[in-house]
Structures are given as C-alpha cells and as structure tokens.
Symmetry: C2
Subunit: 125 residues, 2 copies
DNA sequence: CCCATAAATTGACATCCATCGATGCAATGG
DNA sequence: CCATTGCATCGATGGATGTCAATTTATGGG
C-alpha cells in the first residue's frame, strides 16, 4: 500500500473536444437513459421482438373489426393453439393487446398507443 | 372412411360485418406482414430488446463526438469488459453500430437511420 | 525485445424462452 | 346431463442468451 511508484503507464487517447482529459473516458454531452428506464423499455421490446408475436400484432390489426380470436390466428400463424395462446398472453401482459372473452371466444384487440411510433411507422399499421 | 355422418356441430360466431360467414375466421381487411419480414424485424428488435444494449446505444449517442470506445462504456454499464464487447458485437451485427479500430482502441458509432423511428421517438435520442 | 494496455475470443454455466402434447376448464347446444 | 368446441394451463424439452473468468490477439512504449 505504501508504494511510491508513479503511475506505470496510462496512455493518453486523443480526445476530440477536450484535450486536457488524462484518461480514456470523455464525458458524455447528454444524459443516457437510466437502468430502470432501460429495463422498462427492454420489457416492451422483448414482447414484440419475436416473429410470431409480430405477426400476431399485425394479424389483429389487419383483421376486420380490429379484433380477432385465437381461432382466427392459429392457422395463418402455422403454430399450435397453446403456442398462440402463450404469445397472446405475453402481448397482453406487456400491455400491447387486450383480451375480451365473449361467450366461448376470446377476442384480442390492439391497445392504441401501446407501441408508440413502432406500430405506425416500423410495422406500417 | 365411408361415414355418412353429417357435420357434427360447427357453431356460428357473430361476425361483425359479414353475417354470412359459416365458420370462425372472418377475412382480414388488410394484409398482415409476411414471415420473412417478421423475422427480419424481429432480429432488429431482439438486438435492442436488452437493458444493457439499450443503455449502450444511449451511451454512445450521448457521448461527446457521438462515438465511444469499450473503456468508455464498461464502467457506466457495470458489466465486465467481455460482456460489453459481446453486446457491442450484437449491435454491430444488427447494423445498429459501426466499429472503427484506431490504434489500440475500438470506437463505436451509431448508424444514422438504423433504428428508424425508434431512436428519435421511443428512445428520445 | 519485453511488458503494459485495449479489446476480442473461448469455454463454461445458469437462466430464459419458444414450442408442443396432454390436460383442465368454461360455455354452449342437444 | 353429456358431448363438443374454444381456450388456458401444465410439464417437458431443445435451443438461444446473458454473464463472467481465463486466455488470446493486437498495438504501442520503453
């Protein structure tokens, strides 16, 4: 601990705007997003970062009255009914779809602003 | 095989616009996205659907000259250097970041239109 | 030359996740 | 009251994924 050794090396890297900085890290000019915000956003993105779920969202949005039941979605997706129900649950839990059970059927519907700009621009809905 | 049994049940569901439909599935009014398009989009979304990678993108965008090396990102992320390098590789492979090695350091930079509306609107960059 | 530093790669590990078959449960019609 | 249909849940399973320690590779300085 009582070493009198000077800093062994510590190369200086050419910092573009602030040439006084002794070490690597130049300071950020703006604020980056926090960990909690990142986790919240990641949860939403994970919900749609799947081919089956993207197609589900698109299929529901493309359907006649903007709603669809599981039996409407199983065949065009080419997946088993339990798998489709699983994906729908993920989307509902993420706040992207709503579930409305009427009689024997369960109708799924898009939550209007849930996907933000994603739906209108990226997905072209 | 030679059964003469009639259709056993086949309940009719109230279809909102087309009351003639005999079975469940009402036709889609618009086209849904295809499987290949869904997979392509899902790959891009998977790349950012992670808290660490979201913060990496945000940190790079918030940095002084809009570029940053690994040593700039390891500490604020609180992850090991190999893990940060791994996430950066995922982002580069997805076409979201570019890697430019100058000397000992590797500088990462945002690809302008890669995230589409995601960057400007959802991430607030 | 050898060493120090930056970063990528490797290997291992734990966890998550997409998928399916089987089962359970609710509602509806006969 | 039973059979059928739509849908959710359970259990299992194979594959992807996030993380780290250890190692390797590249670069530059003494």
């Amino acid at each position: 601990m009582g070493d009198t050794v000077q800093m062994p090396f510590t190369e200086t890297r050419p910092v573009p705007e602030a040439p006084i900085e002794p070490v690597c890290c130049a300071p950020a000019s703006r604020e980056a997003i926090g960990t909690d915000e990142a986790e919240r956003l990641a949860r939403l993105l994970k919900a749609v970062a799947d081919p089956a779920r993207l197609r589900l969202v698109s299929l529901v949005a493309a359907h006649a009255d903007l709603e669809a039941c599981v039996c409407d979605l199983t065949e065009p997706l080419g997946l088993s009914q339990p798998t489709v129900s699983h994906h729908l649950k993920v989307l509902v839990d993420a706040g992207i779809l709503t579930r409305d059970k009427r009689g024997t059927w369960a109708y799924y519907r898009l939550v209007p602003g849930a996907l933000g700009s994603l739906a209108e621009r990226v997905l072209g809905l």
